[in-house]
């Protein structure tokens, strides 16, 4: 292959053949399966092999599937509640770690990251054992039937929120908080008027992160869900066990769109607030 114009500079990695090949194959392996899934959700054929024409009927079918919709509702409720609680907890933990010096702070920061590094399967098994051991009631009316899963989701979402918010506080100029105190503000007023506005992008990012993590979590949820508390990913899994139908494709596409949209919002919010520590 010949490149027209200037010779390849030492840093023009993207113009060298081997690197181009690696880049292209990574993109193919990453995105082609997803694109196929999305495309075949619109395919007018029961089998996912040949393109037969465009249709929306599998979306209609998916939306008409009351079990699938119930699972979708469950997932949204769990994500909403666990996000709310884990964001509050994460904000408090992030503030605590920034504001105070205390014994065992390093240990606490380390422990905080544990749910992130522990293999999800272990978390799942542990949660299942825990729920069974304390005899968490199983057949409660909606939404209490989701409480065990929600608790499990809070446990693994909250560290993400705490870490994002803690990281955000690194760029906070402590003199801002002192200036507020100096002008007569109480500890709470200082938090409300000066610290929280700086934290906000971190809080939003932490919340969106938690929401997407909770929404598409399978492993931990699988171990904590009972027969009357099926979530969307768990439901899709059970559908796939029989065959990959276009309904599954349609349902998955909806999940993808939701997750991508939320991630995009999170990124936008983070970009709108650079490190701004005037």
């Amino acid at each position: 292959m010949r490149f027209p114009g200037t010779p390849i500079g030492p840093l023009d990695y993207h113009r060298r053949l081997p690197l181009r090949l690696i880049l292209i194959s990574s993109l193919i392996f990453l995105y082609l399966p997803i694109l196929t899934l999305v495309a075949f959700s619109f395919n007018d054929s029961r089998r996912n092999i040949v393109w037969h024409g465009f249709t929306l009927k599998y979306y209609q079918k998916a939306f008409a599937d009351s079990e699938l919709m119930l699972a979708f509702g469950n997932s949204l409720s769990i994500a909403l509640f666990s996000t709310l609680i884990s964001t509050v907890l994460g904000t408090m933990a992030g503030y605590l770690l920034w504001r105070f010096r205390f014994g065992g702070k390093t240990a606490l920061e380390g422990t905080l990251a544990m749910p992130i590094v522990i293999p999800e399967i272990c978390m799942g098994v542990a949660m299942m054992a825990f729920v069974a051991r304390i005899g968490w009631p199983q057949d409660l009316p909606w939404p209490l039937n989701l409480s065990a899963i929600t608790a499990a989701h809070i446990a693994f979402c909250f560290p993400f929120a705490a870490i994002v918010i803690r990281a955000r506080m690194e760029s906070f100029n402590r003199q801002l908080a002192e200036a507020a105190r100096d002008l007569g503000a109480t500890e709470f007023q200082t938090f409300r008027d000066v610290v929280a506005p700086h934290m906000k992008p971190g809080i939003v990012a932490g919340a969106l992160l938690g929401f997407t993590l909770s929404l598409d979590d399978f492993v931990i949820t699988f171990f904590t869900s009972g027969p009357n508390s099926i979530t969307f990913p768990v439901k899709i899994y059970s559908m796939v066990r029989f065959s990959v139908t276009p309904e599954v494709n349609a349902a998955s596409t909806i999940l993808i769109i939701l997750t991508v949209a939320l991630t995009a919002i999170a990124l936008r919010i983070q970009r709108r607030y650079p490190i701004a520590g005037v």
């Binding site: 801002l176 002192e178 200036a179 507020a180 105190r181 007023q189 005037v278």
Partner: protein, 365 residues
């Protein structure tokens, strides 16, 4: 004790110490600051100036001693309840609030009536010449303007004392000089006591009515600028404030009472006013030295001979570095008072450097 504090003492620091780990940041400092005074705290970087200021503002608690502001013991009083305000080194303008909201923040916290908040905010912005910038955002302002916002935000509170931590260090030389004058003027206008911290001794000399020189956590001398310059009480202050020539020597009491004989290697034996015994330092400021080409000294003068090594030209004056044998060259200053005249000196010239014995400082510490 409290009854002895005079009416015009606004801050009284009594034996305050502060340690960070094993580092003694502030070491048994005692001083009094008078109402309406422009007081400067000066010293090299890391000598504990900021720490002392933070102790006054309530951001640090002393390990020992106590602080009284307007006669009230500040022990246990948190920063938000102290009648002082601080101008932070980083200005600490709230980045998500505009100029007006920044300046009125303290008054809102104090729940002042709306009209009063508006009026006082406007007045404060006028004082710092920022009228018309009410709706500006901090990131649209220059460094100097941000500092004015910080100044207005503190002044609007009408504190008993305004604490300023290196307020001018981030400005460029020209702006700094203008701001020095403006600060002095502003202080006179508002009548608030200013306590300014700086590592720049010339800044302290030009602005303050009284100066405390700090070194390694303790205060070495508190005096008006002139006294600090002409009568430093120790070698550290003499060397830190302005430029000075130092000569090591040993002192013995002279026959006459109140006078000492000091022997130094360079200057020989001198008899001076004072009272000392053992190792001492003699000091003379560069501008006290008179340079001439004629040999021979005058009565009551100390004379040295040397060779001019370097001349640094500063426009209004020039600095000469004169080799007088071993050790540091002698620094002398000459005023370029005539366009065409004056003592014509050139590098390599043999010159006589003389100064009056009364201009010699005897330092025992």
């Amino acid at each position: 004790m409290a009854s002895q504090i005079s009416q015009d003492t606004i801050i009284r620091i009594e034996g305050v110490s502060k340690k960070f780990g094993r580092l003694q940041a502030v070491d048994n400092v005692s001083m009094e600051i008078k109402r309406g005074e422009f007081f400067a705290l000066v010293g090299p970087s890391g000598c504990g100036k900021t720490t002392l200021l933070r102790l006054l503002a309530g951001f640090e608690t002393p390990d020992a001693g106590r602080i009284l502001i307007e006669g009230r013991d500040m022990t246990g009083v948190t920063a938000n309840h102290r009648p002082v305000n601080m101008l932070f080194q980083s200005y600490a303008i709230f980045p998500h609030m505009n100029v007006e909201t920044n300046v009125s923040y303290g008054l809102k916290i104090a729940r002042r009536p709306r009209d009063e908040i508006m009026a006082r905010t406007e007045e404060a912005l006028g004082l710092v010449k920022l009228s018309g910038y009410e709706k500006s955002h901090p990131d649209e302002l220059s460094g100097g303007q941000r500092q004015r916002v910080a100044l207005a935000r503190a002044l609007v509170m009408r504190p008993a004392v305004l604490l300023l931590d290196e307020p001018l260090s981030a400005l460029d030389a020209k702006l700094r000089e203008a701001m020095q004058l403006e600060m002095v003027h502003l202080q006179k206008t508002v009548g608030i006591t200013f306590l300014i911290v700086t590592h720049d001794q010339s800044e302290a000399l030009s602005m303050a009515g009284r100066i405390a020189v700090m070194h390694q956590g303790s205060v070495r001398q508190i005096a008006p600028p002139g006294e600090l310059y002409e009568a430093p009480n120790c070698r550290f202050v003499a060397d830190f404030i302005g430029k000075i020539n130092l000569f090591e020597g040993t002192a013995r009491p002279a026959d006459q009472p109140g006078r000492v004989r000091v022997h130094t290697e360079k200057l020989g034996i001198l008899e001076l006013q004072g009272d000392a015994e053992g190792s001492v330092t003699l000091a003379v400021r560069p501008e006290k030295i008179i340079i001439s080409h004629e040999p021979g000294g005058l009565e009551g003068q100390i004379s040295l001979h040397g060779t001019v090594m370097d001349i640094a030209y500063f426009g209004g004056h020039s600095k000469l570095f004169i080799d007088i044998g071993a050790g540091q060259p002698l620094m002398a200053e000459i005023t370029n008072s005539n366009r065409n005249g004056g003592p014509r000196v050139a590098p390599g010239d043999r010159v006589r450097c003389g100064w009056r014995a009364v201009d010699t400082l005897l330092l025992t510490e």
